[in-house]
């Protein structure tokens, strides 16, 4: 049972109807599908705690 992957799928496709998701895996070669999903779930959990948005492109000026 992929707990993280199932939680992410619920958020993206049952609670919402997102049209696309793609990703850039990190350097960890033994990463599993649940590892990918966990990182994305962590991102949403952080925002739910009130983390502020910081624009990435502004850092490239």
């Amino acid at each position: 049972m992929h707990i993280e992957l199932e939680a992410l799928k619920k958020r993206l496709y049952i609670d919402s109807k997102v049209k696309n998701i793609k990703f850039f895996p990190g350097s960890e070669r033994d990463a599993s599908p649940d590892d990918f999903a966990r990182e994305i779930n962590k991102f949403f959990a952080e925002l739910e705690n009130g983390e502020k948005e910081i624009n990435v492109t502004e850092l490239d000026e």
Partner: protein
Amino acid sequence: MSYKKLYDQIQTIKGKISVRVLRDFAIGFSSITRVREQWSSALDSAFMAGFYVEGPLGPPVPLAETEAMIVIGRDLAKNKHMRRFVYAKELMHVFDLAEEKVDSGEKLDRLAERFTDPSAELSPQFRSEHVAFWRALGVLCQEDRRRVFQKQLEAGQMTVEVVATAIQIPTVYARNLFRSDFADIVNKIMG
């Protein structure tokens, strides 16, 4: 032919291509109307350097149907070149075709599986990850500039490390600009 419009536009820029400029042009040439960005401390970039998601999405990051979001791991802070490349590659997904989009749990299962199991089915969704990689390379260095670099490399007057520094992407990815089949690949991903 949306990517081609972006590619052609980029050729007219002199010098460094900022990801902000890439973003603004990509929005102009795609059906996406806004790209939200998040520089997140939650991502462990050993597992996930960044990701792209297209609405509609509810709270905590509401996205309308035509809006997208790119999230980059904040632990890439010390690696500006990697950050630029990951952002540009994810941005290229605004040009994904309908059949390349991961719009169901089943397609997400297959995409995640293929990243971890090279023997798994090569889906249109996974193929689009490769296309986005090459599309990012195609717009992070103007073709004229790439040819100048190539001549300098062939003459032994330049190294790939210096090219990578000049265009601000990781050396490991910059090497691909000088593959003998680079022009063929760029033609194939031009749609």
